[in-house]
């Protein structure tokens, strides 16, 4: 049944359905109402769980690492500067191959200081070795949170559920909260294969000489690539229980014969869907929703794009001095096709800039323009800048 809920509130309920045993969080801006709502569930006795209020995001990540190694199902949430402070621990969590679920309420990072939405924060820890799943709406964020536990626990890899800050976390909309029975059916109790035990001691994250470091990295890389199958099967199995799916690694919608596609990540998808109705384009257009950014589903993407002439990649972050982050990976993957489509790469909506419906005609108009630029921030207002910075 649809309930009118704020995104953060819905995520708190979804996390509670997963029966976490230890939650650690640093409740200060930039945070969201997620941990605030969870702490209330714990205080009201509705969630039996150890809630540890820590003194920094570094500690929040460290506490869930320790708790997960001790055999607990854990949760934490972060955003923006918080995830940057966590960065060192995030690499450790992934390198030790510990199943932890964390929400990243995507927000811009300083400087200049911004509290608003973009995806620079999770992109900054792209290489930490976590699975990263991006959500198009709050329903997907709820369903992905539950799926994330199963994916994490089966692959023994941490999963970051990325949802646009404000745009999703602070939006009230209709959300179907699964029942406890549905969550329990999907998610068996957590059993970590390497739970620390003083009677059977084990060291993790120890010094590795050059003799084995390379192999550790290779096996981590391989584990992430292999996780694709678990991401797909979690989505399928959750569909069987809930009747809803989130699109596995990526999903494609729109007319079969379309030769142009717009690939997006996160919550801009719905705006583009309605823009296609409001501004019917001259040619048929497909929409590709990239859900799994890590692992990057190169083969699935190639299969989805092999008949296309143009792929427009719209992302909410950039790598200054290079350009698009996702665009580059799409370009690399599609270059392996016998007839690679042209890739046009844009960023928009940085630091909370509104992405209006009119972005659709703007994006499509670039197809016919000769462009010497591989990448462009499409909604930049150059007149605000001095001549030399344009």
């Amino acid at each position: 049944m649809l309930q009118a809920l704020e995104g953060s509130q819905a995520i708190a309920q979804a996390v509670a359905l997963c029966r976490p045993q230890v939650i650690a969080a640093y409740p200060i801006t930039p945070q969201t109402h997620i941990v605030e709502n969870i702490s209330k569930l714990v205080a009201d006795g509705k969630l039996q769980c150890e809630f540890i209020s820590v003194e920094s995001e570094f500690s929040a990540a460290s506490v869930v690492l320790g708790a997960a190694l001790a055999g607990s199902r854990t949760y934490t949430a972060t955003a923006s500067q918080g995830i940057l402070l966590m960065a060192e621990v995030l690499f450790n969590i992934a390198g030790m191959r510990v199943p932890i679920v964390m929400t990243c309420a995507n927000r811009a990072v300083s400087s200049p200081l911004s509290i608003w939405n973009d995806q620079q924060d999770s992109m900054a820890v792209r290489d930490a070795g976590w699975i990263q799943l991006y959500c198009a709406d709050n329903q997907e964020a709820v369903d992905t949170t539950i799926q994330a536990y199963r994916i994490a626990e089966r692959t023994e890899l941490p999963v970051m559920v990325c949802m646009d800050g404000f745009t999703l976390t602070h939006t009230l909309e209709g959300i179907d909260i699964p029942t406890q029975k549905q969550a329990d059916t999907f998610l068996p109790p957590y059993e970590f294969s390497r739970t620390l035990n003083p009677r059977d001691p084990l060291s993790l994250g120890t010094l590795v000489t050059p003799d084995y470091y390379t192999e550790a990295r290779h096996s981590h890389h391989q584990a992430l690539l292999n996780a694709q199958a678990e991401i797909v099967s979690a989505d399928q199995d959750w569909f069987a229980i809930s009747g809803r799916k989130c699109g596995g690694l990526l999903s494609v919608e729109g007319p079969e014969q379309a030769k142009t596609a717009i690939l997006t990540i996160g919550s801009v998808l719905g705006t583009l869907r309605e823009a296609l109705e409001e501004f019917p384009p001259g040619q048929p257009v497909k929409l590709i929703k990239l859900r799994s950014f890590r692992p990057f589903p190169a083969e699935t993407l190639k299969a989805a794009c092999k008949e296309l002439d143009d792929v427009i990649v719209l992302e909410r972050a950039l790598s200054p001095g290079s350009g698009g982050i996702i665009g580059l990976e799409v370009l690399a993957a599609l270059s392996e096709l016998p007839k690679p489509p042209r890739v046009h790469n844009f960023a928009a909506g940085l630091g909370g800039r509104d992405i209006p419906l009119e972005i659709l005609p703007t994006l499509l108009s670039t197809l016919n323009e000769p462009s010497d630029k591989r990448f462009k921030i499409i909604d930049v207002e150059l007149e605000k800048l001095p001549e030399e910075d344009r």
């Binding site: 009118a4 209006p356 419906l357």
Partner: protein, 185 residues
């Protein structure tokens, strides 16, 4: 789809008003979406919140630039540039004001209705929070959603004395504006 923009100051319950409006839509088996546009996070700062109400799921997430209705929680905000920008032709403005509706309409050159929401809230709640009174007036003017739905969502959001007083407040506020004046054609 109907789009509404709420302007107020930090502390006036702008986001709560937007959420209550969207929640009421769900009570009547319609769809709602509400989200704030946070500026500086401090009391008194001008803030905005957006609401959409529709008969099918709402997918767009852009800000409301062309609302059919504006709800202004502080009359002084009408002096702030941009507040009435983008109002659709024939759009209506509900203002928390001590002026008369006729005076406001003339000043703005647009159809406006005034409600002395702050005074009413002070009298009944003992606090100058105009949001629920304005919502009750808005529901009455537009007939878009019923007072019963507003009471239902207030029941979900508040409890105890605050709830009781707000229920009293919306009943009184609803009686102060012409019912159905802004009813959809």
């Amino acid at each position: 789809m109907i789009e509404i923009r709420i302007h107020g100051r930090g502390g006036q319950g702008n986001v709560v008003a937007a959420y209550l409006l969207a929640m009421a839509a769900f009570e009547e088996n319609r769809y709602g979406q509400a989200f704030p546009n946070f500026g500086a996070e401090r009391r008194g700062a001008p803030v905005m919140a957006f609401v959409r109400i529709a008969d099918s799921p709402i997918q767009r997430r852009n800000q409301v630039r062309h609302p059919a209705f504006l709800i202004i929680q502080d009359q002084a905000l009408l002096q702030v540039p941009g507040v009435t920008d983008g109002l659709l032709p024939g759009g209506k403005i509900l203002v928390n004001s001590r002026q008369s509706s006729a005076e406001l309409s003339e000043q703005l050159g647009k159809e406006a209705v005034a409600l002395q929401a702050t005074a009413l809230a002070k009298k009944i709640l003992g606090r100058p929070v105009p949001n629920t009174a304005l919502l009750a007036a808005f529901f009455t003017l537009t007939n878009m959603l019923s007072q019963d739905s507003l009471a239902l969502v207030l029941n979900k959001r508040f409890k105890g004395e605050v709830l009781e007083k707000n229920l009293q407040l919306i009943q009184q506020a609803a009686g102060l504006v012409p019912a159905g004046l802004w009813k959809e054609a």
